[in-house]
Symmetry: D2
Subunit: 339 residues, 4 copies
């Protein structure tokens, strides 16, 4: 930590802050600039709140952290990329991209089997489908719940695709774990720390979706919760942040891909369906994500978007998904990846 | 809902959309402008996803909702303000303002009793203190948990102050209900819909904190979750949104106060401690909130902010809190309120 | 400046960076933490780009500035508040608040005289009115230009109110200076540095409106442009920043008031009309601004908002303005100010 | 326009609003829903402020525009893409991508010639270089001004590259036009409407950079200013918007590419240097932009970024640029484009 004193700080205030830093167990390094005194507090600053509280001390101007607050998620701790195994021969984090596709919500047997068949045919590796749905409105369709999981399991068997579905609370952890090959934490739960702690205790891959206003550092801290619980199988998913722009549902932060790939060894995928909110922008943004270095994609596909019970406007039809996959293969090859 | 067709839409597309709207059970009102056809879909549009999915239909340009999606929270449903009873003679929503104060986290018996004594002495009506703490870092202090609740209960008895504390998950609902007079849902859980549903079933007041990127409409939808579960004792709390500005921890959206007071009958309070993140900005923003029409405040007070286990930089010392309360009384009177 | 080296930096890289800092004319202060080397570069860092460019150097993790980049605008340079004299006995920055009111645009002789009469009657001190209007659309009303200035001058004489109007480019500097007692730089021109430089050369007060995405630090740098040109009569005006929230036209950042009052000696006023965009939120936000410590307000008033050529929805009627002024007096007194 | 009345509107208010709409020259279409009355105002709504001012009318809930406010910039007005001719055989908007590269600022004869030689060698088509520099600080390097233009002209001759440079005010329009093949309007001037009007009168291509908080609709309105002045040679450039994320200097909004390509016929290019602010993220974001359908790129290249007078941290070294160009060719081919 760097503690910068005010220009007007008295020598008593300066001395007192020095003593406080030492009393917290840090070595102090004092540096006198032309205008003010600056302290370096030497020692592990992670999780140490006390230094930041020095801001409340008279004469202190600001306290600036130097180290990133995450450790297990950091590239400094692990150079090599983490490869997450999703079962049935599907992995993410290596040369081969991971393409997850499927409807926003499982709606019926026919719907999920139709989609599974179509996406498998187009070369996708994993099936998505919500059974427990977080909805802004209490009056909106909340998902088929356990019935949805059973239908997902059916589609998994029939089309040999591992499945991913969202977990919204600890209560349903067991039943979802029975059916899903990967548990997804939605954007709204990315700082539901109780849930993250529980997911640190299981031995299934976990996919974390970045929240609408989660910084990259906070996103990695959420991953740190799962990692520090003992579960190293974590996948990160950029899905759009909230900005002033309303032409898209969210602003898909593609630059989060190279930033995350630099800072962490965990695989990074992108969800252009939620990121844009409109089917016609999904394919260009999927190509962009892969070109920027993403390890995979999560795409919403629905046989009849105009009749979907949720997220219809952003869902691709099977034929649109197929066309996108063809373009994707070319871009993947152009950047040294494969599908 | 308004469904606007593209200028280039064919008459077949226009006719097909008309039939779809009717098939969803709506009366159609067609209007031909100089450039394009616009449909009005007449019928209750709340919770009806189908109309928004029309965007996926060829020829459709956009779908525009007219009604607000919340009903029970709306001023149109209830004109008179809701007065929430917090016990021990304390209410919020009427002429008297509600001043909640206390430390970010309960840290020790001495700390919580000291604060309770000080804030009661300065005229606060309710004691806050976190027992279960949501922390960005898994390595940070996570709260005293049940021990913290016991200490809160002790302070409540000794100083006759009802208490409020944060609930982070459904599991701790029972134990927290045993001790707290009001349950607080933190900014990070404002769209934890499972938790909101459970809180709709209890008979205790619930305080909802606006999330960092929650729109006012979404905030009211979260309230609607609790209200539609049967619990009408809901308090809303503005506590800062996330913007590009970094001089303050968050940007306290004071204008949310008049907007919320217009749209809903629920009481609205403001938390300038989290909203600004720096003790020196708390008092001016507290005055501003009351001047703008807020029904109360939630203020962090700590006997020794420089030694706090969390949120030290934004906590007032008891003497600072006392000085603020004096200014507050004058502003409250100036706008026809009392403390 | 603090230059933090990567954990993986080689000793050659560390040595090279040290030499570069010295070659830029700075004294180097090296500090070896538990994980990485940190350099302090001692010397005046204002306007020195070279140090920030060190980020491009191998082995460097990040470069962190310590000093604020503005000097003349800083409270460290001048403790006492600047009082700006607007003529006709009107000042801003002292105990008395400055209330500016008037229409968005001067539209006709009758309109501007009506408004001037009404606001003077309610106790406002200064008349606003746009003659050259910045409009998002090239097809919208662009102002009466010089004719508008003449009308403003007429109203000034008749009602003894100094006037303020917006300057959009250097070309109209002379003519506007002939009529206006204070020149306003609009939010969209806050980083029009050529214009700011010219305004540094004149001897008239300048009011700077914060841009929609201007940080407080950048805002002060824009003031620094005018101040460093030799014009010390600068007033700052918060008028809302752009965020994700759409219930208000912008998000009025009331917390900018205490932050600016801490960092600079310049007077700070608030424009709740542009800040909220809706007449019904103007009065509560005006009260909030004064409660938070603002030195004044700028309010849009129009005799018939529903017929205004611009900004009708956010303009108060004269009777509404009068009612607001009454509430304002009470709040001003409550915080030790007067109108 | 759609005018939605409040549920509580009286029949007098409803009738009065109807008459007002008609008095503004619109045909009225009244639609009675289950809860409220909605009016459609039929007629060209572009540039018509009067309808939006109806919000000030008692009983009106909100006013919703249907048409986009731009006309000449719209795909509805011109289906075919505009191809802008930059001279020397270089165009943008067709199959071939436009690659612009060069330093942030022209610093010396040697520097600009070195860069020009390097980028030409790597296959770039156009040289950028600032002569008049907009700088946040009045104490920072402000550009070589006319000398910089002369150096740019020299590099143009020697390496047969058309050149682009920024125009900051109307005063320098003539001298810049003498040297530049395309005039760039910077992000901070995107709503400097006086400047845009002047650029509508010249017969040189103009490149408009999106502002930090400019919506896509406002961006197109700025283009409309130039187009409506008679200059149809307009290029749009996405260069990052301001959000809460600080890991990158701005958030490069890649999704603006498909949105703009849908809404307008004008060419769209991307500047990943300003968009990210860090050299190490430039190449991945350049690839992403092309994959998403951009018509070109603008890239900062400097022979010695660590000694640059501005924007060093985001400038590529010539060797890095060369490597990026190779990757770019592969991605361009993958999406059916060429360099």
């Amino acid at each position: 930590m760097i503690i910068s004193m005010k220009k007007s700080a008295t020598s008593e205030q300066i001395e007192h802050v020095k003593q406080l830093i030492e009393s917290f167990g840090y070595k102090v390094h004092k540096s006198k600039g032309t205008e003010r005194v600056i302290f370096g507090a030497i020692g592990d600053e992670r999780g140490k709140e006390k230094l930041t509280c020095l801001e409340a001390q008279p004469g202190v101007e600001k306290v600036i952290p130097i180290l990133s607050p995450y450790k297990l998620a950091s590239r400094e701790t692990q150079e090599d990329p983490t490869i997450v195994d999703l079962g049935m021969g599907v992995t993410v984090g290596g040369k081969r991209l991971l393409i997850i596709a499927g409807p926003c919500a499982v709606e019926s047997r026919e719907q999920i089997l139709d989609v599974a068949s179509a996406i498998q045919d187009s070369g996708a590796h994993m099936l998505r489908g919500g059974a427990f749905k977080p909805r802004t409105s209490p009056y909106a369709f909340q998902g088929l719940k356990q019935d949805g999981l059973v239908l997902l399991g059916m589609a998994k068997e029939q089309y040999s695709l591992p499945v991913i579905t969202e977990i919204m609370d600890i209560k349903s952890l067991e039943v979802i774990s029975d059916y899903a090959d990967c548990l997804q934490v939605g954007a709204r739960n990315i700082q539901n720390f109780q849930l993250l702690k529980e997911l640190g205790r299981i031995r299934k891959p976990v996919l974390l979706k970045r929240g609408l206003s989660t910084t990259i550092e906070e996103f990695l801290m959420s991953a740190e919760y799962v990692l520090s619980g003992g579960n190293s199988q974590v996948i990160l998913c950029e899905r759009g942040i909230r900005t002033f722009e309303t032409a898209t549902r969210n602003t898909l932060d593609i630059s989060a891909v190279p930033v995350l790939k630099e800072k962490t060894h965990l695989p990074v995928i992108v969800d252009p369906s939620h990121g844009t909110g409109h089917a016609r922008y999904v394919a260009p943004m999927a190509l962009a994500a892969i070109a920027a270095g993403a390890d995979g994609l999560m795409i919403e596909v629905h046989p009849k978007p105009e009749e979907a019970l949720s997220d219809g406007p952003q869902s691709l039809r099977p034929a649109e998904f197929k066309a996108m996959m063809e373009g994707l293969r070319r871009v993947a090859n152009a950047v040294g990846r494969e599908i």
